[in-house]
Symmetry: C2
Subunit: 239 residues, 2 copies
């Protein structure tokens, strides 16, 4: 049987090395954009609009009468209403609303993917791991697991999520990519100590300084907000 091909992209900087045309691109930004997006949609948000800049966030938020959100250095950006934490978006708050979210790494990779002739853009994170895997198997298309990284530098948390996906769907894909082999190895090595292992990562050191430990633990917990955010008509909606 001819299997579709799966690649793992370790940094946005490497995107042009891969043929992404007609592929499903999974945007991965575990700490915390894609974890927050799936959580808001799982809790009934109508849609999430990912925007690159703060001014866009304010303008689009006003136009759509939406909740605006974004952080820099662990604090809500002046002019916006909320932060990047998934814990800020319980059903009691976000149900039926539109969230306009600006983040640095995840949003940038998403827009890079949209600029190309891809088949579909979805977002992935541990909270919606199963939804992503089911969708990729069912679609039978080529896949790019796109790690958002941190300012283009390789990061472990996005890689671990790519590895978690690969460990579940590898029989359905043709995988001949060293990045994917590494991601799967790293996930299998740390699947049983993930809460302690993420404490060693560079991003943990950065974000835990802001008291975000509980957030980060949530962000590596599988299937606690198990919907599939699919990008269509300018926004991510539960697919």
């Amino acid at each position: 049987m001819h299997k579709p091909v799966l690649h793992t992209l370790l940094s946005p900087r490497l995107m042009d090395l891969y043929d992404v045309s007609n592929s499903i691109v999974v945007i991965i930004d575990v700490f915390r954009a894609t974890s927050t997006i799936t959580t808001a949609l799982y809790n009934g948000a109508e849609k999430v609009v990912p925007v690159a800049g703060v001014e866009d966030c304010i303008a689009i938020g006003k136009k759509l009468d939406a909740v605006t959100a974004g952080e820099r250095d662990g604090k809500i950006i002046p002019g916006l209403q909320h932060g990047n934490s998934p814990a800020e978006y319980p059903r009691s708050f976000i149900e039926g609303k539109t969230l306009v979210l600006t983040t640095t790494n995840g949003t940038r990779l998403l827009h890079m993917a949209l600029d190309r002739n891809v088949a579909e853009v979805v977002t992935g994170s541990f909270p919606n791991l199963s939804a992503v895997c089911h969708h990729l198997i069912a679609s039978e298309k080529n896949v790019i697991l796109g790690c958002s990284a941190w300012k283009d530098r390789f990061n472990l948390e996005d890689t671990l999520f790519a590895g978690a996906v690969i460990s579940r769907i590898n029989e359905n894909f043709n995988i001949r990519c060293d990045s994917s082999l590494m991601a799967e190895d790293m996930y299998r090595l740390h699947a049983n100590d993930i809460y302690s292992f993420i404490r060693k990562t560079a991003h943990w050191h950065r974000l835990s300084a802001y008291g975000l430990e509980k957030d980060l633990e949530y962000c590596v917990t599988a299937d606690v907000a198990n919907v599939l955010p699919v990008f269509k008509d300018g926004a991510l909606r539960a697919g």
Copy 2:
């Protein structure tokens, strides 16, 4: 004690994300440029001149009355005399001679490093693992372990070598870099099955098609050509 900082660079494409100034940059191209360079020097070559293009290789080879070498797709490049295999450079052939070598990935990263204000450029590979480690510990300078990758794509064999270095010298350096944590994990995971594991890599599939299995096994064998190639005055010489 203040320890120097060590980073691992997973692709030449990511070099500008790191401050390489005043650092020792270790050029790593396990399959096969840096394995061949250390082997030629270990076997008594006077020096190795790494050049980017075939025309340079021919011109400099003529000027220096040197052995010219380079391959594309597993074959000696027309106009050059030898290939990229370390097995082509036994003492009986290479002692006292100059080797002008053109390779794609390793040579390119080396010239990228030379264009910056680095402290020193050396080359690393399993055949000179101990020489590299001893030098880095003794130097007490910041270190960039530079994986040459394959056409800018992440590769496992260079990463495993970076991990082997880190596993030996991590107590002497301040390492807060996800790439380095990953490299060390991958090396520790596969240190005892490295000959079978490298058969899974993309580069193995590429090169084994040319009958190079013995070459590749040699290239992941530690300390069989244990000198330190140091770049100075346009050439690599045993340091």
